[in-house]
């Protein structure tokens, strides 16, 4: 009976909201909780361990599929980069043909380089346009930067292009280029007859008046030789010096196009050559 009354008093006193706990309550709670904590953490980790073992198989499978997906992404990224680079090159080439279309009436056929002769004395580049595509011998070949060479031999589906680095005044198979200066096409005249391998420059001979030429001028083909069509950029003047016999001048021209690692070229098709 007394116990019942005590219980009622206890319940009544603790029913409402209470202020901070009294110190016996704190003491009991802390000691019991601490002991419980001793058991709870290891139990949790052990249970977690078994859970991990169960999950190991799942994680393994997941890892495998993720790795596969990753390599697929890596391949796709590489392909994307390659496509982007190709796209950029082709856009450049397309922009180039559009610009040239306004300037001249030439048709520019784009061709890819198939192989390059490893011989140092005979740098022939083979492109994948040939007789079946209407390519004829002596058509000029250029890249976006400038003149690169001339079609020397035509086969069924491929053609050999002789690069500018092989122009030689003693070889019967190489043709000299009649050139003039851009911006002043009527006056200066010269013939690019050979290539100096030591300095990497083209040698332009038979220049009569050198007063209208200065270093840095752009040299373009003049079309007078009936071989190379006019208006194609060849290079820039690097130096002007005395020529043979002291009568004419000799001009060294630095080519604008690079001759190594060529991938795509343009073959210039002049309407009346057909």
């Amino acid at each position: 009976m007394v116990g019942l009354i005590c219980f009622f008093i206890l319940m009544g006193l603790t029913l409402g909201a209470r202020a901070p706990m009294t110190w016996p309550e704190k003491f009991i709670k802390d000691s019991v909780s601490w002991t419980q904590g001793l058991f709870y953490k290891p139990a949790a980790s052990i249970a977690g361990f078994f859970e991990d073992i169960r999950q190991l198989r799942v994680i393994y499978e997941e890892n495998k599929t993720l790795k596969l997906t990753l390599t697929q992404y890596a391949r796709d990224t590489q392909r994307l980069n390659e496509l982007e680079a190709q796209n950029k090159r082709l856009m450049e080439a397309l922009g180039f043909t559009e610009r040239q279309r306004q300037a001249n009436v030439y048709k520019y056929r784009i061709a890819e380089v198939v192989t390059i002769d490893p011989d140092p004395y005979n740098s022939t580049v083979t492109i994948n346009l040939g007789d079946a595509d209407g390519i004829k011998e002596n058509m000029a070949v250029m890249t976006v930067d400038g003149l690169v060479g001339r079609v020397s031999k035509v086969f069924g589906f491929h053609s050999n292009v002789q690069l500018l680095t092989e122009i030689n005044d003693t070889d019967t198979n190489s043709k000299a280029i009649a050139v003039t200066v851009k911006g002043n096409e009527s006056e200066p005249f010269g013939m690019i007859e050979s290539y100096d391998s030591k300095t990497g420059e083209l040698v332009m001979n038979k220049v009569e008046q050198a007063d209208s030429l200065k270093v840095g001028d752009t040299i373009i083909t003049s079309g007078l030789g009936q071989v190379f069509p006019k208006g194609i950029e060849v290079g820039t003047i690097a130096s002007i010096g005395p020529g043979e016999f002291g009568i004419t001048y000799k001009v060294m021209v630095k080519p604008k196009a690079t001759f190594s690692h060529i991938r795509e070229v343009f073959v210039v098709e002049v309407p009346e050559v057909k």
């Binding site: 140092p120 004395y121 022939t124 020397s152 050999n160 003693t170 198979n173």
Partner: protein, 179 residues
């Protein structure tokens, strides 16, 4: 089928090397080299020299002529015959120096290097003779010939052991069967 391949593998290997040296090697050589020196891969020539060293000199001559002619046709711009003459002669000369055992690596590589140098001289010589180029001798030696010889010698060194096994492996079964 297996014997068919083993009889005709030099053709396939030479063809493969020909295609390789015209396409992939050009892109493998770093372009920082290309501005100063010109390295010309002549892997087909290296293989022909090996045929001369480990097989008979006549087969080296024939292979050299045929594959040199193939290269001439392929890269024809002014004259036919330089590569076929050069490769055939170098292969034949390499075959003349064949020795019996011991067949040392150093000696064979020396012959290979000399064969490559001979080819470069022939190449340059014929080009100068017919006035196809006018590069002078010292420049060609230091910029074209020596780097190419070194590069091809490196290739020869790398592939010496497999190629020798391939070429000499045909002889040993023949001597083994005697009853």
């Amino acid at each position: 089928m297996g014997s068919l391949f083993s009889r005709h593998y030099p053709w396939l290997i030479l063809l493969g090397l020909l295609i390789l040296q015209g396409t992939i090697v050009h892109w493998l050589i770093p372009s920082s080299w290309q501005s100063q020196v010109y390295v010309a891969p002549h892997f087909t020539l290296v293989f022909v020299l090996f045929i001369g060293l480990f097989r008979h000199r006549h087969s080296a001559l024939v292979y050299g002529l045929i594959f040199g002619l193939l290269q001439d046709f392929n890269y024809y711009s002014s004259i036919l015959g330089i590569y076929s003459f050069g490769m055939g002669l170098s292969g034949y000369l390499a075959g003349l120096t064949q020795r019996r055992q011991p067949n040392l690596v150093f000696y064979n590589l020396l012959i290979t290097g000399l064969g490559l140098l001979t080819f470069e001289f022939i190449n340059y010589g014929i080009n100068r003779l017919f006035k196809l180029i006018d590069v002078n001798w010292e420049f060609a030696l230091t910029h074209y010939m020596l780097p190419s010889v070194l590069f091809n010698l490196l290739f020869a060194l790398l592939f010496y052991v497999p190629m020798r096994k391939l070429l000499e492996g045909k002889h040993s079964p023949a001597t083994g069967t005697d009853d």
